[in-house]
Symmetry: C2
Subunit: 396 residues, 2 copies
């Protein structure tokens, strides 16, 4: 196990109907002028927008709205948010949404105090350690874990870049996690969110560091939780416990619990970031498509033990031959995503062969997968993995 | 899953050799006058005392020492610590030790600002939400999880009481977790600490709340981690990864991760607290002796599914008949503790039949196991469980 710091001071308020009694007190810790940030308006359909506005009205808040934050939040929206916060001298940001909304507000929170324009902050990737506006979140999608970490991913469509940035100063102060707020998430987004959670777990699980049993066994447990509860949520969207388990798993999958103490670069995320930077596809869907192909590609004498451990502890697959177990485990990943209704080829999400080489080049350029990944990946490796995503595939 | 709050702002600095570069900066956040609290002097043997003192000397700290904190810390020691802090106007407490030392300093931290004597603070069980001295810890034993939670257990031998108390204001600000500091922990204490970790996991796992898959699957993973790594640490005391996994598991087993979101009282801890209140035995040993007997006692049609899940997911025991699986799982718990060198009967730790009835009465009186436990336990039930601990036992 590597040395690590674990410091996650986000105050998580998990469960049913807490906003009514707690939101005002939380906001009042920071001030009366609130930037209310949200996405495409789903919160207007399910009543959450009205509820939050009404609570803030009763609390005599001055509310400034930033709406229309994109699924892959764009740097222009960050700049717009910073300008609003400055114009109205906002005291606290309230992000109501999923990871995209929360990510966007993190960069607004830090950017408020910065001299550089937002894209410079993101592309310099210095980390947010200085002052930042306090951020409170109301989560509406179980996926990115942004509600309990300091990370953010911002897209610049002008340069086809999607870059990660973050730091401790933009960790949400308080996050309200009410599983009921995810009842109206459509099946496709529920599946994509679950794929995102699983991918965070996979990325941390498949790293070079050995001997991190706590991290790996916690990961295995969270994987089993998602694999059990995602199908239930798809079938019965208002199953409270299924939604609760997905929601809490999303936060724990990426708050350091499964990754801190292990070193190395992630593999699938850098490859996916290029897909959604170039084609604006749903992040979790891209990850689901790539992951089993990546697993298949890196399976070798060197990695087979870990993959057979994965097959046994996560999927209950036990075989005499480690390679057989490993392959069945990888097939199980593919079959699981497919059964969740995820389109499992790139053409199905509108991506053809045209830019594979360019995207592969960028994936290697924007990350350290060529040197630090579980199995280092060159541009050529990435092209092969992308190509394997062009058609349906299976081991058996 | 029940509603819960998860708020654990302890800054964990995990890994090798961090004190040297980080201790002074951490202490300087709070001030120069430090109460250095420790136990029976094992830190003087292994060099940690000298290292910490030397670092504080270089940092020009004024150091006040509270030594001799007992394995079951006594209220008189808490009072002594409070008096020292007041006399020297201490700015920050540095606890170097295991759970007992840390627990003791938590009540000192809160007691410093309280008007009541320490025992009144503890026995009123109001919870520590008000002001408290900042607490920094250097952990030397993987066991109680006190390094990452707000709980403390204090013993009053005059009244034969051992009571839990706590609150968010006494959560350690920073905890240094260096697995190397546990290399010199003797085998008996290593086993007892592992039993304590497992017991925290068992207590949270076997609660009435259903549908808390995240909590339960994380628990299962941490159990597997302890079951794998404790024997390694016993055999090779300086195996870094084994010690690291036990240490990090100890923190995560009782920081809310496996318990928050589930309701109900713990079962074995209240029964054990009486054993160590009356006989001053090692807490983890008492838990190890009680746990398999308690499991056997509460196994029924109502609980068999959970116990067979436990057998399969933790011990890899899969059987057609749930009861057979459950019994094998319980036997595995017993056999594991025995193989770790733990004396598995009460007479072996100096407890005879004499006070069983009195202790059972107190266990019920000092807790809510009669109403809120996984399976409610009356005084008579507790007597039977104690009695089953008088001799070696097995299912097969």
């Amino acid at each position: 196990m590597e040395n690590f710091r674990f410091y996650v001071p986000t105050d998580v308020r998990f469960g049913k109907d807490r906003l009514k009694d707690e939101l005002a007190d939380v906001l009042n810790l920071y001030g009366k002028t609130v930037l209310l940030a949200y996405g495409g308006g789903s919160i207007k359909k399910n009543g959450l927008y009205d509820q939050v506005l009404s609570l803030m009205k009763d609390n005599q808040n001055k509310v400034v709205e930033l709406s229309g934050i994109e699924p892959n939040p764009r740097v222009e929206t960050v700049d717009r948010g910073i300008a609003l916060c400055r114009e109205h001298q906002v005291d606290v940001i309230l992000a109501v949404g999923g990871g995209s909304t929360i990510d966007c507000t993190k960069v607004i929170a830090a950017g408020f105090y910065a001299e550089e324009p937002a894209w410079e902050l993101v592309s310099k990737r210095k980390g947010f350690n200085g002052p930042a506006l306090p951020l409170v979140t109301v989560l509406t999608l179980a996926a990115t874990g942004s509600e309990m970490n300091g990370g953010a991913v911002i897209t610049n469509l002008a340069t086809n870049q999607k870059l990660g940035v973050g730091g401790p100063s933009v960790l949400p102060k308080v996050s309200f996690l009410d599983p009921q707020n995810t009842y109206t998430v459509p099946a496709y987004q529920t599946a994509a969110g679950s794929a995102d959670i699983l991918s965070h777990l996979f990325e941390n699980y498949f790293k070079k560091t050995v001997g991190a049993d706590v991290q790996d066994s916690v990961s295995e447990g969270l994987m089993r939780t998602v694999i059990k509860n995602c199908p239930t949520a798809l079938k019965t969207p208002d199953d409270y416990d299924a939604r609760a388990n997905l929601m809490w798993a999303s936060s724990l999958a990426l708050n350091g619990l499964t990754g801190n103490g292990k070193s190395g670069a992630w593999s699938c995320h850098p490859m996916e970031h290029e897909l959604s930077a170039f084609y604006d596809i749903t992040h979790g869907i891209g990850l689901a498509i790539l992951t089993p192909r990546w697993m298949k590609y890196v399976l070798s004498e060197e990695t087979v033990s870990k993959f057979s451990q994965f097959a046994e502890n996560v999927w209950g697959i036990k075989e005499q031959d480690e390679f057989v177990a490993a392959k069945k485990g990888i097939q199980a990943v593919y079959d699981f995503f497919k059964a969740c209704g995820i389109p499992m080829t790139l053409p199905e999400v509108g991506i053809n062969e045209e830019k594979l080489s360019l995207m592969a080049e960028q994936a290697v350029k924007h990350s350290t997968i060529e040197t630090d990944a579980y199995m280092p990946l060159s541009k050529e490796d990435v092209v092969k993995i992308y190509q394997d995503c062009m058609t349906e595939s299976s081991y058996y």
